[in-house]
């Protein structure tokens, strides 16, 4: 019984950590620009695919990872500069469609460059699973959790200790005021996209050994990330992490205990339930409407 429960929990936490990392990317961009970036999943794909293809070309793993992350970062900047910035007057839905267009475009290019096959990435360390009270844990899960934790801590430090991080926060709270105190808001937005892309690509790389990677892996993972961010409350870092983990755990528990056919339906019902009682997610900012 315990072993079974633990197994579901491990599975859920591993998937959930992935969702959480993607959700953090959403949160970051949402905070800085109030844009929901539907191309977030593509950063993941770029991270995984670029690493795989570079290592296949004989580039050492570490270097391949660095290059892939840089590529994703550049892509993030390009996305903000070329697609989001020129359309800053646009409606929320219009921005959503622009990011959807961007994700289709990036995916299309990836498909032409890298082909359509799924690719394997080796586990970072041993492929031997670890056994805990009868439940097994993939060693890569530890990497996902560890790197996830490092990134969350890193983000917290980034926002509280660095000038750039504080500037991003200030911009998210009040763009006009931020501009008045001399923050170059366009620069900040660009940075937010870049950091979010870095985050996404790292997530894409750490989960690739578990999920495999292909040109279209970003679609569903990106969507799940958005779901996680919404459960947690858009704009909340804690929310993204809690939202991601709880989504992953609910999925795994539902698949194990309720019905694997309906596990996604269970997850989506959970969202409806959360939003029914907390219209701004678990940790969303409570705002008073000014009239």
């Amino acid at each position: 019984m315990l072993a079974e429960f633990l197994q579901y929990l491990f599975t859920g936490i591993t998937i959930g950590a992935t969702y959480a990392l993607i959700a953090l990317g959403f949160t970051l961009i949402y905070n800085a620009s109030h844009v929901i970036n539907f191309a977030q999943g593509e950063f993941l794909m770029i991270g995984g695919m670029a690493t795989v293809s570079l290592t296949a070309m004989g580039v050492p793993m570490i270097l391949a990872v660095v290059l892939a992350v840089i590529l994703a970062g550049l892509l993030g900047i390009a996305l903000q500069r070329l697609a989001i910035a020129p359309a800053k007057q646009a409606d929320v839905v219009t921005l959503i469609i622009i990011t959807i267009g961007a994700s289709i475009f990036i995916r299309g290019i990836a498909q032409v460059v890298w082909g359509k096959e799924y690719h394997v990435m080796q586990n970072f360390s041993t492929s031997e699973p670890i056994e805990v009270f009868g439940a097994v844990l993939n060693s890569q899960s530890l990497w996902v959790l560890g790197i996830g934790a490092v990134m969350v801590v890193g983000l917290v430090l980034f926002f509280t200790k660095t000038l750039i991080g504080k500037a991003i926060l200030a911009t998210s709270m009040n763009k006009e005021a931020a501009r008045l105190v001399g923050i170059r808001t366009q620069m900040v937005l660009m940075l937010a996209f870049m950091v979010s892309a870095l985050l996404g690509s790292v997530a894409g790389i750490v989960v690739a050994p578990i999920t495999f990677t292909s040109y279209d892996i970003g679609i569903i993972l990106g969507l799940k990330g958005f779901v996680a961010a919404a459960i947690g409350g858009l704009g909340s870092g804690v929310g993204a992490v809690v939202g991601g983990l709880s989504l992953g755990i609910v999925e795994a528990m539902a698949a194990g205990y309720i019905s694997s056919d309906y596990k996604d339906a269970v997850a989506f019902s959970m969202i409806l339930l959360v939003l029914f009682f907390m219209p701004r997610g678990l940790f969303g900012a409570k705002v008073v409407e000014r009239v």
Binding site: Q7, F10, K116, Y118, P129, T211, I219, G256, S260
Partner: protein
């Protein structure tokens, strides 16, 4: 963009007009082979080798003088794995391109979406998709080249029974292939007096199936596990299976019968069995096997031309095209009814997938024995029987 569209629309109209004018000079006309395949999208691992195969052999046949003295022309559209696109492209092939025969439909969903239209339009259609519903009940104009999922289920369950297994756990994808495979497996199991003690599913986009497998593992009496699905899902299942340390006999379906599956699953695949076309083990076939030559040639030609590993899915297209060519040759024209009748009477065509013996009540023409049971040993396919 609008201008491009107008230009294209103009072009379409011009082509259509030209088509009408040239009707009289039909003798010079190429034979049009229509095709809609899932070249991109989630089923691209099916559509991609299928299209490559079609392109390559249409070229080859034309170099060798065509069919009935007429060149072949391949008209192809990518349905992206979307059933309603498949239906629309089928309509475009029939109504706009006016093709003589259709070889296509990578997935059962795409095939079935096009079937009502094709039946009404009365165009011969050779599907490349697996499910048994495509040809059972028999539809007048619809044929298919892959073995049915029912045959796969029969083959696997027979092999289990031979090993003394009567109770097994089933894990299947919720996509068309897995879902249909699941239904067939449940039916065949009942007929063969076997018991499916656990029955779980995963969706095509899932990235971890440990929870479902744990569920099976904890079910009492499980003696083996069967995974029905295609795409990357079964590879993840295989890896999770190994991670969980499950040591029961493990079966996959023909949906993953390709070398790329071995690459994805890696060492986790060790010891698993599946039913597959002999294409994966061309050299292990006995010399007197009639398929040996066809299989070896196809593999060599495909790999030389595309510089990528051959897949059994491409072979479905090979057989589809060859059956179409043979039917047209036997009919002596592209008259749809004559071609259809010829297709229905093809006997003893030895293809890559198996030996086809079509009949009015069998538009597939294969039997379960055309599947070989393979086992993964030391990272390679080994022929078991």
């Amino acid at each position: 963009m609008l201008r491009t569209m107008m230009r294209r629309a103009g072009k379409c109209a011009a082509v259509a007009a030209a088509g009408l004018m040239m009707m009289s000079a039909q003798a010079a006309e190429p034979i049009k082979i229509g095709s809609f395949l899932s070249v991109t999208g989630p089923a691209s691992f099916l559509g991609d080798p299928e299209l490559k195969t079609l392109e390559m052999y249409v070229e080859k046949i034309n170099e060798e003088g065509g069919v009935l003295g007429r060149p072949l022309e391949l008209v192809h559209y990518d349905d992206v794995g979307n059933a309603s696109s498949a239906r629309n492209f089928a309509s475009r092939l029939i109504r706009s391109d006016q093709v003589d025969i259709i070889v296509g439909g990578s997935t059962t969903g795409a095939t079935m979406a096009a079937v009502p239209l094709i039946e009404q339009a009365q165009v011969p259609f050779i599907s490349l998709a697996g499910a048994v519903v495509i040809t059972n009940p028999v539809k007048k104009w619809v044929f298919k080249t892959p073995q049915t999922d029912r045959m796969a289920a029969e083959r696997i369950l027979t092999d289990m029974k031979d090993r003394g297994i009567t109770k097994f756990g089933l894990i299947s994808g919720t996509g068309g292939f897995g879902s249909s495979g699941r239904t067939q497996t449940l039916e065949v199991a009942e007929e063969m007096g076997m018991e499916v003690v656990a029955d779980v599913t995963y969706s095509g986009s899932d990235t971890d199936m440990t929870a479902q497998l744990t569920n099976i593992r904890n079910t009492k009496g499980v003696e083996a596990v069967l995974n029905f699905g295609f795409g990357q899902g079964p590879a993840i299942v295989t890896r999770n299976y190994a991670q969980l340390g499950m040591e029961l006999p493990f079966y996959q379906s023909h949906g993953v019968a390709s070398d790329s599956f071995l690459e994805l699953a890696g060492s986790s695949a060790e010891g698993l069995r599946l039913p597959a076309s002999p294409l994966l083990v061309p050299d292990s076939l006995p010399e007197d096997d009639p398929q040996k030559e066809v299989v070896q040639n196809y593999k060599a030609e495909y790999e030389a031309r595309w510089d990528s590993k051959v897949s059994t899915f491409g072979a479905y297209a090979y057989d589809g095209l060859m059956l179409a060519v043979r039917a047209i040759e036997e009919a002596g024209s592209t008259d749809p009814a004559a071609v259809r009748d010829a297709l229905e009477n093809i006997k003893g065509y030895v293809g890559v997938t198996g030996e086809f013996n079509m009949a009015p009540d069998d538009h597939n023409g294969l039997d379960a024995d055309s599947f070989r049971i393979l086992e993964v040993q030391n990272g390679e396919w080994k022929l078991i029987n």
